[in-house]
Point group: C2
């Protein structure tokens, strides 16, 4: 991944681009909308810019703009942005005429932050108010008539400038003559990039919706978005129906690998759940499902494969190879999704077998790929995905670390739902905070981390993870806490909530085994972080920012996470919970072509580090299972 | 249609291109195969040429090749062919290195002639002999692995140079993992342009077939072609099943316009007939239907619409607007055609409501679009289509002239089948030649034209088309012929074959009404030719060549056609029967990308002249119904 820096003048705005990329493409990726009549073929001459450090050196020019530039302009360094191949850092003076074409709209807002990505969905509706009716002098075909309207309106490049011109949905051809005439040649064309995906009578431009779908291993979340405004109209979620085939992804994977029938069953379940989500969204927002033209999907690679009915067998065996990683467009019709059937599902690209479109979504939402300083994103779901790097290089790895954080294999563990202890403080006594403020039913992952962090702080646990015997406990420990460390048949545990003598309160404790499970889980994440920093050739201290993504990451107490060594020991202001960043990435891709292009590029460029079988990972893992001492990460 | 002339040096080969076209595209259209690593993005620098008349004028350069050219080269006029926009006539010196990339293979041979089009089908098979197996260090997805193999082998441009990279057939993804592993990573990829349409285990490159299908109003002809060699392996024909809905196209059109059910019935009939043709071809050549990857279809616009299930209603009402004219690709799967289901049907573009892909096929096969002299092509099927022009401009019109030539509305008329009189000579007696040398059953269109030409020559008919009364006949007319002019109840006719006193021979005659029908039919064609010459601003004498296309055109006696004024009065060596030129056009498009590209361009550029409602056509028609006098056309 060789990057060059493009500085836009006079604002001195810096953007990063890949070496060899065309300048106009790099602008698009950086969030600028550039609409030109010739679609970047160097024909219209409208995309003139001036390269400041390229003056007077016509032999080093990158471009073919000679027919559009005067000798004087050439000597000044003028070029056509659509022809400039970026080979090294460059300063670009944006001319006034160019600025007129270059729209930098409001960035799309996700998880409360305005991003750099402009509101520029791939779906577009154009009301053709008055196509000329055919006459004996103008016998153009219905299709070509409409295409002409779109080209003349500047909504499409001229057919000869596109490899194949407007792309067709065969079904539209069937109804085209009737629709044109019934509407008296006043129709709304729905474009999906350069593909016409629908044609509607009259002016329907105000009705244009899309869905962003985060297909999590445990929970699937859908958001209905108004593509005209970028506003979220409704959101709903549903348990992933595949949970019945196994809570973790590996058991579903092996079920899906058993044969075509099993695979189809898993796929059908997912499709049904997606349809239920879409039905609910449509109902709660009161819109027509036919006005949903696109659904952008993020999910891990296994769910991606199962949803498309692709054989997951080889994801489950070394070397863990996916069937496909590139972004995919699938006609809604093909999967029978409850939206416009000529519309599309768009699946964000996968990076590797266990790093899917959800990780790409996280990278998008955190802008990791364009930071000049090194940043770290950790997404802890059922798996743990870790991305580290900056504009020059991004590394990613995954660890099968998740289940413990979701309550699996923890004695009183539970998911972060109603009744779960989610925060723990130890003072003179134990203070717990319970989701829903009811009497506690168990402990969530973040509650567990809090509790262990506190126990560590007070010396109830040593850095190897051992709960001290009551006799070993520090003298200064409040008595009420001391009494909570109990031992029975050689099993030591710490009582968080005692149910003794109470009928509707069970005892909730943290056992030595629970702590071991936590050590395994956080050790895997920490070791992954360590391996990535070494691969990148940096020290832990050089990490400038840590993003905690995912539902779990968001409710995590960063201070506790740091205390147990789940994340590096950095000042807390450098640790940021970014919520469902994967879902936010789906929204970004839905709303902005720039984001989508960026996603494809990121997925190609991120270097995947396979941890399995790496001796340095094994070694790091052994060390990282312990808890930190002296504020050192490891 | 603005054309520029490109002269290739040192051979002084001249090709015509459209103004604004890219030089490398123009070369492709002219039949050169140019395969470059960067797919014409100006990145690889391999397509260097020298523009002879562009030396020393860097400001007038067309191109962006600066990073690949030295100052000296620039001053010599060197450019990148993929970046040169053609704005005026230009002389291109083909450098040695460029010549290496430029393949001018044997031209495709159709109807016995080698054409300029290289054998360069859109379908391509590539045996990937040894894809590297995935390892923990190389975890590329199955799809991307195969794509990398194709890119590294030079069979595909790098993904970043293509808007979307390799295009996917979703079904292939499903079987991809299994196919790769079952074949031990030795697979044959089938590309359709940049789309992967099939993946086969092992090396199947020798099995690659296509079908060229001429869907005539009366007869459908299919040819099975080996795409590796261009050889025709089998040919078969079948009566268009739609004849049962009406012999002429208009009655089928109105049937198909009655509603969805009727339209589907017509479509189903066509699909069934196509499948019967394919089944027969496959059987007689002994190949696997799965190895047929493409079927190229030509037909008139109505058949085109009916075959695709497109509403033909507006073809039948002024202003006669087709649903679509551009070339179309349709997955074989969608119409359930008996070939590889992920393969494609390719329909040549239509020009207008009554000038379809068959006319485009004729233009392709006759190379009308690249002649510097004006040429005329007349295709008389159930309709008559006329194309006139040269490289600078082509005009086309259609006349509903055909039925009489196919025997409809002619007293003893019949199609040119077994038992039809196809040639007539009048000497001292009547000499007829009968198809199959059996006793005559009727007269074919060409027989009728022969007979009328002879009757005109001998003065039996005057130039208004009137059969002279026996008393008026020229004195020098042989007696035996005189006796054949009979009159009964004011109906005059000429006895060609007398069945008097014979039980198994019926009398075959040409009636006054028959001659009137012929006058209407040939008058329409002649008037069409006249209107086109006037539109083009030339005289009849300036027509340099006449092509007679179609089954009917081929068996026509050019001298007779000229005598009755069906075609202009030109020296006979300038009149050439080219057989089923529409079908030959389909073969060309199947075998050569150049031809296909040319077809698309031709269809866009041909100017369609609508004759209906034109006063000058009406007037010309009135004159052209008479027979020529003094060797003048009209
Ligand atoms: S976009 Fe038209 S010349 Fe650059
Ligand atoms: S084809 Fe690569 S530079 Fe022209």
């Amino acid at each position: 991944m060789h990057k060059v820096k493009v500085t836009l003048l006079p604002e001195k705005q810096e953007i990063w681009a890949t070496r060899g990329e065309i300048l106009s493409e790099a602008l698009l990726l950086a969030g600028y909308i550039l609409e030109t009549p010739c679609a970047g073929h160097g024909i219209c001459g409208k995309c003139k810019v001036r390269l400041e450090n390229r003056k007077d050196s016509s032999l080093e020019l990158y471009a073919n703009e000679w027919q559009h530039l005067s000798m004087e302009e050439i000597q000044q360094g003028c070029r056509l942005a659509c022809q400039v191949v970026l080979k090294e850092d460059v300063q670009v003076q944006i001319t006034t005429s160019f600025r007129e074409m270059l729209r930098k709209t409001m960035g799309v807002t996700v998880v409360g932050n305005e991003t750099d990505f402009p509101l520029y969905p791939l779906v577009r509706k154009i009301f053709l108010q008055q196509l000329p009716r055919p006459t004996l002098e103008d016998q153009l075909g219905d299709w070509e008539r409409m295409e002409r309207g779109l080209v003349e309106g500047g909504f499409l490049p001229r057919p000869e400038h596109l490899e194949k011109g407007l792309q067709l949905d065969g079904e539209i051809l069937r109804t085209l003559p009737a629709v044109l005439r019934a509407s008296d040649y006043q129709v709304t064309a729905v474009l999906y990039n350069h593909k016409l995906i629908a044609l509607e009578e009259g002016d329907t431009t105000s009705q244009m919706f899309g869905v962003a779908l985060d297909m999590g291993t445990t929970t699937m979340v859908g958001a209905l978005i108004d593509l005209n405004t970028g506003k979220q109209l409704a959101v709903t979620s549903r348990t992933n129906p595949q949970r019945s085939f196994g809570a973790d992804i590996i058991s579903r994977l092996s079920f899906g690998s058993q044969g075509q029938e099993q695979l189809l069953a898993l796929q059908a379940g997912l499709v049904e759940a997606v349809n239920q989500i879409l039905d609910e969204l449509v109902q709660s927002a009161g819109i027509e499902p036919n006005y949903i033209y696109e659904t952008v999907v993020v999910g891990n690679t296994v769910i991606h494969h199962l949803f498309l009915g692709l054989d997951p067998t080889y994801l489950g065996q070394g070397p863990y190879v996916p069937v496909v990683t590139r972004p995919l467009q699938v006609k809604a019709r093909r999967l029978k999704i409850h939206m416009r059937d000529s519309g599309y599902l768009y699946l964000l690209p996968n990076i590797a077998g266990f790093i899917g479109g959800d990780a790409v979504g996280v990278i998008l939402a955190t802008s990791l790929y364009q930071s000049s300083k090194v940043q770290l994103a950790v997404d802890i779901g059922t798996n743990g995905e870790i991305v580290l790097g900056c504009a020059q290089q991004l590394l990613a790895c995954s660890t099968a670390a998740g289940p413990a954080f979701e309550g699996a294999r923890i004695k009183h563990g539970m998911r972060a739902v109603y009744g779960a202890i989610e925060q723990v403080k130890l003072g003179d006594e134990v203070e717990v905070q319970v989701i829903g403020s009811v009497s506690p039913q168990g402990i969530s992952g973040s509650g567990l981390i809090d509790a262990v962090a506190e126990m560590l702080r007070l010396g109830i646990i040593d850095h190897t993870g051992r709960i001290l015997a009551p006799a070993e406990l520090p003298a200064e420990l409040p008595k009420k806490l001391k009494q909570r460390v109990v031992e029975e048949k050689h099993r030591r545990e710490f009582i968080l909530v005692s149910g003794e003598g109470l009928t509707n309160q069970k005892t909730i404790s943290i056992s030595q085994e629970d702590i071991r499970e936590l050590q395994l889980a956080k050790g895997a994440i920490a070791a992954g972080i360590l391996v990535l920093t070494r691969e990148l050739g940096i020290t832990i201290e050089q990490i400038n920012q840590v993003f905690l993504a995912g539902a779990f990451g968001s409710c995590l107490n960063p201070s506790s996470a740091r205390a147990i060594g789940l994340i590096p020991n950095l000042p807390l202001e450098k640790v940021k919970a970014v919520g469902n960043a994967a879902g936010a990435g789906a929204i970004l891709a839905l709303l902005s072509r720039s984001a989508r292009k960026q996603a494809a590029q990121v997925a190609r460029e991120v270097r995947h580090i396979e941890l399995s079988g790496r001796p340095d990972f094994q070694e790091a893992f052994l060390g990282a299972m312990y808890f930190p001492r002296n504020n050192k990460f490891y």
